[in-house]
């Protein structure tokens, strides 16, 4: 057990690769949509600008990874193996809640050594689409929609204001795309392109939106005030 008098704030070690990140997952009737940006950084250098942060755990279960790239890859690999063993032993794929419980166990039991924020999402026969958010401490929270990563802080307001229940697949995809684009435009550690997966009973459909086709929002104008008055130029 860690020494409670000294807290290690600088979780990521020196030189460790960081999934800066904006990730999210949203449930809709019939499945889930998960999405992430594509930037991995080491300090201020972008080690990989086309990362795939949507990791396959099982046929209809994916997870979004944020935090330390090494930690999340290692944990996801272990859970991927557990899911395969489960299928071999029980003859049926694990439910999303079981996969999320596996993640939760790893993240909670090793909370002092790990720096991993994970969103597990997928489709199973018992519950249809479901989303589980597992932030840094290893707690597990089932939610209709979840956002995570450093870029998520900038879009809580947008998500709270925009989300509605009962959306179709297409509307959910739009929601995810817009949210991620907003997060990526404000967060330095997020960027690149958007990768999304739509997971339903029948299939997993991957979507890719390159950086130059991201939805654009207010980008500001250089000069404010009326043309007649003395012009104020924003540097």
């Amino acid at each position: 057990m860690a020494n409670i008098n000294s807290v290690d704030i600088a979780r990521l070690k020196n030189g460790e690769v960081n999934l800066g990140t904006s990730i999210m997952a949203v449930q809709f009737d019939g499945g889930v949509v998960i999405g992430a940006d594509s930037r991995t950084t080491t300090g201020s250098y972008i080690a990989n600008r086309v990362t795939d942060k949507l990791t396959h755990i099982h046929d209809r279960i994916y997870c979004c990874r944020s935090g330390s790239a090494a930690d999340t890859q290692a944990v996801a690999d272990v859970v991927h193996q557990h899911a395969q063993v489960y299928t071999a032993v029980y003859g049926a794929p694990p439910t999303v809640s079981r996969a999320a419980a596996l993640f939760e166990k790893m993240c909670y039991d090793n909370k002092d050594q790990l720096s991993a924020g994970i969103i597990v999402a997928g489709w199973d026969k018992e519950s249809g689409g479901s989303v589980y958010n597992i932030p840094l401490g290893g707690g597990m929270f089932q939610q209709p929609w979840a956002i995570g990563g450093s870029g998520s802080t900038y879009v809580y307001g947008y998500c709270d204001a925009t989300y509605r229940e009962g959306w179709s697949e297409q509307e959910t995809v739009e929601f995810v795309k817009n949210t991620l684009a907003l997060a990526m435009s404000r967060d330095g550690s997020s960027g690149g392109c958007i990768r999304m997966c739509v997971i339903t009973k029948d299939k997993v459909e991957r979507h890719f939106i390159p950086g130059n086709e991201l939805p654009r929002f207010w980008e500001g104008k250089e000069i404010i005030g009326s043309v007649n008055k003395q012009q104020v130029v924003l540097a």
Partner: protein, 304 residues
């Protein structure tokens, strides 16, 4: 100091050099830093598509090894062998990259023998990442892993903490930014073999000339399903210029009073070994005269 026969302990860690290292650390400017490969290493996937050539991987590396501000080795080999069709470039702590690639290379050979098929690049990647993750970054090996297997050419980066990325072109090491600049401007998919080699050489040269931690020569390795070509010292843009004068002293500059020449070989016996040694044409020579062995060629010339 009294010379005493030191018995190595049978168990536990051997701390017998600790006091000696501390003493040197105080005498010199601190304990010397581990040799690090400052380094520029790169990898690129080429071929396939409409290039008309076999798909493959081209790896490149510089050849400078540094120990702090000093160049410890001007021509070290940073492209390590893993399997006949897989190579690994290493940046970071030189000892760590050397040993981790050796270990995984042995394990891959055993794995291939037990599976009855050639090892895959993802297997090498998984072994490396699981080993490095276990050591939480203390094994300072940053690697560019490339190879060709039944699924085609593949290229990965493996960081010391155990994270990996799969990409069509990669750079690592202190010169990675200089090399990446070259790749980002000139990389295209489905390059021909010669184009890929030229691009890799340019990227390494960019690291050599713009990064203080990289230097000397360019090593290249080209891997396709037909085989691996090791182009050691493919380019040598830093050859030492010829000296304008002869700085040797002629024999007789220092006067001598007496000359006595003794052969250090008392007796020499050549014995061929039996068994495995014999099959390999092994001939055991008992004594080696000084100046004629491996080190002798590189030794100082007393007079020309």
């Amino acid at each position: 100091m009294v010379a005493k026969a030191v018995e190595a302990p049978n168990v536990g860690f051997d701390f017998s050099n600790y006091a000696r290292n501390q003493f040197f650390g105080e005498r010199l400017q601190g304990i010397p830093k581990a040799t690090s490969t400052g380094t520029t290493i790169v990898g690129v996937i080429f071929g396939g598509g409409d290039s008309g050539e076999e798909p493959g991987v081209c790896l490149g590396a510089d050849t400078r090894a540094t120990g702090g501000p000093i160049v410890a080795d001007k021509n070290c080999e940073k492209i390590h062998y893993l399997t006949p069709q897989i190579r690994c470039c290493g940046a970071g702590t030189a000892a760590d990259t050397e040993f981790v690639t050796n270990l995984i290379s042995s394990n891959l050979e055993l794995h291939a023998l037990s599976q009855g098929r050639p090892a895959r690049v993802v297997t090498a990647m998984t072994m490396l990442k699981q080993y490095l993750f276990r050591y939480q970054g203390h094994v300072g090996a940053h690697l560019v892993l490339g190879g060709v297997d039944v699924t085609g050419p593949q290229l990965f980066t493996v960081h010391a903490h155990g994270s990996t990325d799969k990409l069509p072109y990669v750079t690592m090491g202190s010169g990675s930014l200089a090399a990446m600049a070259v790749f980002e401007s000139s990389f295209k998919e489905n390059m021909k073999r010669d184009e890929a080699i030229a691009l890799v050489a340019r990227a390494i040269r960019s690291g050599i000339f713009n990064d203080l931690g990289s230097g000397s020569n360019v090593d290249v390795a080209v891997i396709t399903k037909n085989g691996t070509e090791n182009l050691r010292n493919y380019e040598m843009p830093n050859e030492r210029g010829t000296k304008s004068r002869n700085y040797k002293f002629r024999r007789g500059t220092t006067a001598w009073t007496k000359e006595s020449i003794r052969s250090l070989i008392v007796s020499e016996e050549i014995k061929s070994t039996s068994g495995a040694g014999k099959d390999q044409g092994g001939v055991e020579v008992v004594a080696v005269p000084t100046g004629a062995g491996a080190g002798g060629e590189e030794g100082m010339e007393i007079d020309s």
